[in-house]
């Protein structure tokens, strides 16, 4: 039996123990999340639609499937830039609030604690997606900069002469 197989079998048996320890260690995060949720649900400045969203976030905390889906959905959202176009200004204003961003952070930590294996998968897929996005945007910036430098060098010698010839002709 190869070392890889032994490591994998050991990992399978260690997984429930590690998950239980992580779940126990993150109980304060969930307590904090529950307190934030309670506070936000009675806040009159928050719309009813957002209160429904907050209520649905409460149920995700122990659901291991959330991270499994998130590890597929997050990379698509990151690469396609859906978040920039699909999130309405009202949602944007809501998620900019201090309590909302705290809620999102706590939700993320709690959901990650519920499924360590899919958190690893999520980190791999979302990391790759963010890297691709960064490289694409960095690549486009580089192309623009190089092109701008090319224009600066080429235009004084090529462009004006040609235009003057066209104008004169």
């Amino acid at each position: 039996m190869s070392t890889l197989t032994i490591v994998m079998i050991a990992a399978v048996f260690c997984y429930p123990v590690v998950s239980a320890v992580i779940l126990k260690l993150t109980e304060r995060t969930r307590d904090e999340l529950a307190d934030v949720v309670r506070g936000m649900l009675v806040d009159p400045t928050i719309s009813e639609e957002h209160k429904v969203l907050i209520s649905s976030m409460v149920d995700d905390v122990f659901d291991w499937r959330f991270m499994a889906f998130a590890s597929v959905v997050f990379p698509f959202v990151a690469i396609s830039r859906r978040a920039e176009t699909e999130i309405t200004p009202v949602d944007r204003a809501f998620f900019k609030r201090e309590d909302s961003s705290r809620l999102v952070r706590l939700h993320m930590r709690s959901v990650m604690a519920a499924s360590p294996i899919f958190t690893l998968v999520f980190l791999l897929t979302s990391g790759a997606a963010l890297l691709i996005r960064f490289l694409l945007s960095f690549g486009m910036v580089m192309v623009s900069l190089v092109w701008a430098d090319t224009i600066k060098n080429v235009s004084p010698s090529a462009g004006p002469h040609h235009l003057r010839r066209v104008a004169a002709g």
């Binding site: 190869s2 123990v17 779940l23 109980e27 969930r30 529950a34 949720v37 649900l41 499937r65 499994a68």
Partner: protein
Amino acid sequence: MLDFFKRAGGQLVAAICAVQAFAWLFGFFDELTQPLREHRELTALGVILYFGLYYITYDATYRAQKMRYKKRLRGASLRLPVNKKPGAGVVRPAKRPRKGA
């Protein structure tokens, strides 16, 4: 009990699928599955042991933590998520049974 098997079994199957997908992607699929295929009885025993270990360690913690979380949330005015499917929540009359059925 059914809930436990759904939770433990679902996680095991999903985790195996994820590991197998990575094994297939990075080319160590055969190396990983060959010993499991050769020792089927040990694999079956391992799966039973996994469920036992899962029940003793993770599931006990899970239930305790969930109870604690629910207690913490008690009294919060939670809203029911709205089903946005067209026609959801509309109660329709039951279909009449066909004649002769």
